[in-house]
């Protein structure tokens, strides 16, 4: 994705690609989808040993954060996961690990991070409800002081990987502020209802909080003062998701190029017709734009640059829209075979369309850009 990867990142990329080709190629997703099953926990465990989550976790809690490049490294993994439309809980678990590492108390870090880093436990982030700003704005869950802790009420929708999660990160409206909590998924009053999802490798749920009582240990950071942490968490998640989307589009574009070179019609390779090649040239340009925007976002988020908030929204709009548009048209170029269940391209298209809308639609990020620009 980035044209200026360092030596470690190139190694990470090679290692991840080889691991996934061996252990979780696109056929793995097909098998899981056919069996209506979840993801392969053995693959996740071995992936975790390669450092997938540990990149966000400090050494004291079983991670490698101090000696690694954080988001800048994790996007390398995310892109590779995108190329095989990986179905494991990478985004969610990394986002939760990052949030706890960033804002958690020593007790919270000790309690949760080692399991997440080792691939033994999973997290899911309950951020928002439904509506145009879904995936970006908190507010569908409310927190109120109750005893020594809080009581949570409301719901979060489109929650990735909640069904598999051991831990829930809950972002809630608390008076005028934002409070965040880390609670076990099995806490009384929490119900998790799976949604039917377009993406065959994405498990989404509606998580309902019905008078959920949390104790003081559940509060992440200070009560009512979680807005800054929320913004940082969102930036990390968006940088990862954009990189994943780039991997999805890049791979689909690759095999479409092979297809238009191999396929003949009217005595010529179909890729020689301007009707196709001009479209592919535009797609190439937009894909380069997605790569450039995602790489810039990752760098900006990792370095805490002042333009990080803008950078992730630019990247989300460009990656989300370009990937969907490119893969839709790639399917068209495949002709009839592209409409068959047997061909892989629909798996890529499902992931792209799903990613485009999750964690803020392009429209939601355009609105956010206006706000960031002071309009």
């Amino acid at each position: 994705m980035d044209v200026t990867l360092n030596e470690d990142q190139t190694m990470l990329q090679d290692m991840t690609r080889r691991f996934l080709e061996d252990r979780s190629p696109i056929t793995a997703l097909r098998k899981q989808a056919d069996n209506d099953g979840g993801f392969d926990r053995d693959v996740w465990k071995d992936g975790a040993e390669l450092g997938w989550v540990a990149l966000f976790v400090p050494e004291d809690n079983g991670g490698i954060a101090e000696s690694a490049g954080g988001v800048a490294d994790a996007v390398v993994v995310a892109e590779e996961l995108g190329r095989v439309v990986f179905s494991g809980p990478f985004l969610s678990t990394c986002a939760v690990a990052d949030a706890i590492a960033r804002s958690g108390s020593a007790e919270q870090r000790d309690a949760h991070l080692p399991g997440l880093a080792a691939g033994d436990t999973f997290g899911a982030w309950c951020l928002s409800g439904r509506g145009p700003m879904a995936g970006m704005d908190a507010g569908s869950v409310t927190a109120a002081q109750s005893g020594g802790g809080h009581e949570l009420n409301g719901f979060a929708a489109f929650v990735q990987d909640a069904g598999d999660a051991d831990l829930l990160l809950v972002t809630a409206r608390d008076g005028d502020g934002i409070s965040q909590f880390v609670i076990p998924a099995g806490t009384a009053g929490v119900s998790i209802e799976p949604m039917e999802a377009l993406d065959l490798g994405r498990r989404l749920s509606v998580v309902t909080f019905n008078g959920v009582k949390t104790d003081a240990n559940a509060l992440l950071g200070e009560a009512g003062k979680g807005a800054d942490a929320l913004e940082k968490q969102l930036q990390v998640l968006l940088a990862l998701q954009c990189a994943e989307t780039v991997g999805v589009a890049d791979r689909a574009f690759e095999f479409t190029l092979e297809w238009v070179n191999d396929r003949y019609a009217f005595g010529r390779q179909i890729g020689s017709y301007q009707g196709l090649k001009h479209r592919l040239a535009r797609h190439c340009g937009h894909l380069e734009g997605a790569k450039a925007a995602a790489a810039h976002a990752a760098t900006a988020v990792q370095s805490g640059a002042s333009d990080a908030a803008i950078a992730v929204s630019i990247a989300k709009s460009q990656c989300g829209r370009a990937a969907t548009e490119i893969i839709r048209d790639c399917l068209q170029m495949h002709g009839g075979i592209g409409l068959t269940w047997e061909h892989d391209i629909h798996l890529y298209l499902r992931r792209a369309v799903s990613n485009e809308q999750l964690w803020g639609s392009p429209a939601a990020h355009h609105e956010r850009l206006c706000q960031l620009a002071g309009v």
Binding site: A281, A300, V375
Partner: protein, 433 residues
């Protein structure tokens, strides 16, 4: 500032910490000299404006001055000493441009320095290099590219301008068009047909042509958007001595290839060297102008207008990020120089998209304005409402380049490749000898 369309006069960022002692000495010498001798870079002053004869004349003096001070002239630092340059490696030129950030440079020499210098270095005879290169670097010669013709621009190898040899002299007849700044140029690289019985690409020769020859008529072309930077030339028995053939007779296509590659490299790196520097990482800054337009039109709270604004922010930023990415990739070998065509293509694509969005944003305010409304109004200029992309290679040619050269897709089929040029189908008006 990524979204800034005009020259940045902001903080100077240098790579000073990487300097060797020799480079450091060069840097300090340049810094010291520039302080007293170069004019400031003005944000409102165009890098290139061939119509502005005063600016063109000032750039000529500036080039002379930089050369005389021992800095080789614009882009002369890596040119060998015997041809008027300094013969130093690229790093010294990078240093020079870093230090020159706050100043005006003679950017009207861009054609000569980006295109003619590489062509002469690669294809020129020793005599040609010694005669012409120093004159670019010391400000004597502005150069034009005489390529496109009224019969067509995209199909460059189809040129009709004829060159016939009489004794030791070539006689050129025909017409060239879309020549940037032809009216101010002293010399031109002119592609002409020397043998129409050979196949299209084989019968061409490149000439070094005196733009002041009495047989050369240069007319400025008035454009729909205003401005007349481009010219059309009529060549009536323009004489070129045999020693001013560049490359082989009937080998002109090879020289034209170098010309086009140099142009693409220049475009990819940033045409006006020293104006934007690839190695400096800037953050994204969203332009205030669009929000001001929205307020002026009264739609800043309208959800649909805010979507348009958001999209424009994305287009502007991604366009710049692609340019930086491709640049960096070409520099470190991730991409071949052909990838420069992606930056050009996407620059066109996003310009067209932006124009369309701003027009939608402005509504009727974009088609008429009261005389007193001034800068804030989106204005009624044609450049705001046309969505053309023709100059520097049409959008369709850029799409071909990306598809065929970068993605490696197969070419379209044409007539048999060995068909003699005079047997090809052509425009009804074409006179093919």
């Amino acid at each position: 500032m990524l979204n800034s369309p005009s020259p940045s006069t902001g903080e100077v960022v240098t790579t000073e910490d990487r300097d060797t002692d020799e480079q450091r000495a060069f840097r300090l010498k340049a810094r010291d000299w520039m302080k007293d001798n170069l004019p400031p870079r003005l944000p409102d002053e165009a890098a290139n404006a061939f119509e502005d004869l005063e600016l063109v004349a000032r750039d000529r003096e500036l080039q002379t001055k930089i050369h005389a001070a021992g800095f080789g002239g614009l882009q002369g630092i890596p040119v060998p000493v015997e041809y008027g340059g300094l013969g130093l490696d690229q790093r010294f030129e990078d240093i020079f441009f870093e230090e020159a950030t706050p100043y005006r440079l003679p950017w009207h020499f861009g054609n000569a320095t980006n295109i003619v210098i590489p062509c002469l270095l690669e294809h020129g005879t020793e005599e040609q290099k010694r005669k012409y290169l120093p004159k670019i670097l010391d400000g004597t010669h502005y150069w034009a590219q005489l390529l496109s013709e009224p019969s067509g621009g995209s199909d460059l190898a189809g040129v009709l301008t004829r060159a016939e040899k009489r004794g030791d002299t070539w006689i050129l007849n025909g017409s060239k068009v879309w020549t940037s700044g032809g009216h101010i140029c002293d010399m031109g690289l002119c592609l002409a047909r020397t043998d129409a019985s050979l196949r299209k690409h084989a019968g061409l020769t490149m000439f070094l042509v005196d733009m002041h020859h009495p047989g050369m008529t240069v007319n400025q072309i008035e454009l729909v958007m205003g401005g007349a930077d481009f010219c059309q030339e009529f060549l009536d028995d323009v004489e070129v001595p045999d020693e001013d053939v560049l490359g082989e007779v009937n080998g002109g296509w090879k020289v034209a290839g170098t010309q086009l590659v140099s142009e693409r490299k220049g475009m990819a790196r940033g045409w006006f060297v020293g104006l934007n520097r690839a190695e400096v990482l800037d953050g994204i800054e969203l332009s205030e102008r669009y929000g001001m337009i929205a307020k002026h039109v009264g739609v800043e709270k309208d959800p649909q207008a805010r979507q348009l604004l958001g999209e424009v922010f994305v287009y502007d930023t991604v366009k710049d990020l692609i340019g930086k990415r491709i640049n960096a990739g070409i520099r470190n070998g991730t991409f071949t120089p052909e990838a420069g065509s992606i930056s050009s293509l996407m620059s066109s694509v996003f310009d067209i998209d932006r124009t369309r969005l701003l027009s939608a944003l402005a509504g009727p305010e974009g088609i008429a304005a009261s005389p007193d409304e001034g800068e804030l109004s989106i204005g009624i200029g044609m450049s705001r409402v046309t969505t053309h992309r023709i100059g520097g290679g049409t959008l369709e040619m850029q799409l071909n380049l990306v598809a065929e050269r970068h993605l490696g897709l197969p070419r379209e089929l044409g007539p048999a490749p060995d068909t003699p040029f005079n047997q090809l189908k052509a425009n009804k008006t074409a006179k093919i000898a």
